[in-house]
């Protein structure tokens, strides 16, 4: 997969959305092992219910990390300069997530070509679970 060229990176342009899921508890556990966040609310069902949740809660950094890595795969993993994510709604086992990215702005700064990208992860209900933005350099 090669990164798109500068001339193609107009406002609103983005890759085909990626659909992830249905998410399983195993996805959460795999992410927790990889990341080191071992909060039991994400894998221990009795613990999560005692805390008032209907099931184990998705790991926010899992969907945020999937969104950021997928956008980086589009514009080149070595070109990422900034990623910001904000959580809007939780994710649950069985959810099907859709990841979206599009160019918000293409510009030159300090002699470099850059793009700001808008990121979103939505649930099967249409609600946004994560919104974010990222900045990439675009090599000549």
């Amino acid at each position: 997969m090669s990164a798109p060229r500068w001339s193609e990176l107009r406002e609103g342009v983005g890759p085909e959305p990626l659909v992830l899921g249905p998410l399983t508890r195993t996805d959460f556990v795999q992410y927790q092992g990889a990341s080191g966040d071992l909060n039991p609310v994400h894998h221990d069902e009795p613990f999560a219910r005692a805390a008032g949740y209907p099931a184990v809660l998705g790991v926010g950094m899992f969907q945020a990390g999937a969104l950021a890595a997928w956008a980086a795969a589009w514009l080149g993993p070595e070109n990422v300069r900034r990623v910001r994510v904000r959580w809007k709604e939780p994710v649950w086992p069985g959810d099907v997530l859709t990841l979206r990215a599009s160019i918000a702005r293409a510009y030159e700064e300090s002699g470099e070509r850059r793009v700001d990208v808008q990121l979103a992860c939505t649930r099967q209900t249409g609600a946004t679970a994560v919104e974010g933005s990222a900045t990439f350099v675009v090599p000549a």
């Binding site: 997969m1 992830l20 795999q30 992410y31 092992g33 990889a34 990341s35 080191g36 966040d37 909060n39 609310v41 994400h42 008032g52 949740y53 809660l57 790991v59 926010g60 950094m61 899992f62 945020a64 990390g65 999937a66 950021a68 890595a69 997928w70 956008a71 980086a72 795969a73 080149g76 993993p77 070595e78 070109n79 990422v80 300069r81 900034r82 990623v83 910001r84 994510v85 904000r86 959580w87 809007k88 709604e89 939780p90 990222a134």
Partner: protein, 154 residues
């Protein structure tokens, strides 16, 4: 109640080795498929890889100044996260020295009433030459009431 005196509190430095196996494991866990995250001796780390700092700071007493805020865990959540890279993200084989600091504490009125207290911790990651490679900015929020879950506990 957030302890305002935590503002400016700095943790002790700790090391984060960007290891090949960990990079590949993390990339797989976030469902990445781009070969740059997996191939060769020095695969590049995914954009949120530096979250693995929470593994290694546990080896150093006083590395994490967040506890000084005294945030109520039942009302506290991870609201926002940002990573800034001053060049390409680090590749496997890089040893980073990380240091965290509480940089902001501020309040906002919640939409459903009550005061929200936001706390920001910035972690700087430097390479062996002391060059700033990346920064992680964690924003946590403490709500007035136990919230509907919107994020995760920081």
């Amino acid at each position: 109640m957030i302890d305002q005196s935590a503002l400016g509190r700095e943790g002790r430095p700790f090391e984060l080795d960007v290891e090949r196996g960990k990079v590949r494991e993390f990339a797989r866990a976030v469902r990445a498929t781009h070969p740059a995250f997996f191939d060769g001796e020095r695969p590049i780390s995914p954009p949120t890889f530096l979250t693995t700092m929470f593994f290694w700071e546990k080896d150093v007493d006083g590395a994490n100044p967040w506890a000084a805020l005294g945030m109520d865990q039942r009302r506290g959540m991870h609201a926002e996260q940002e990573y800034v890279f001053h060049g390409p993200p680090p590749r496997a084989g890089t040893r980073l020295t990380a240091r965290s600091r509480i940089t902001e504490i501020y309040e906002k009125q919640g939409r459903r009433g009550g005061t929200l207290t936001f706390c920001v911790m910035v972690t700087e990651f430097r390479d062996a030459d002391g060059k700033l490679v990346a920064e992680a900015k964690l924003t946590g929020v403490e709500t007035a009431q136990p919230p509907e879950p919107a994020g995760e506990k920081p």
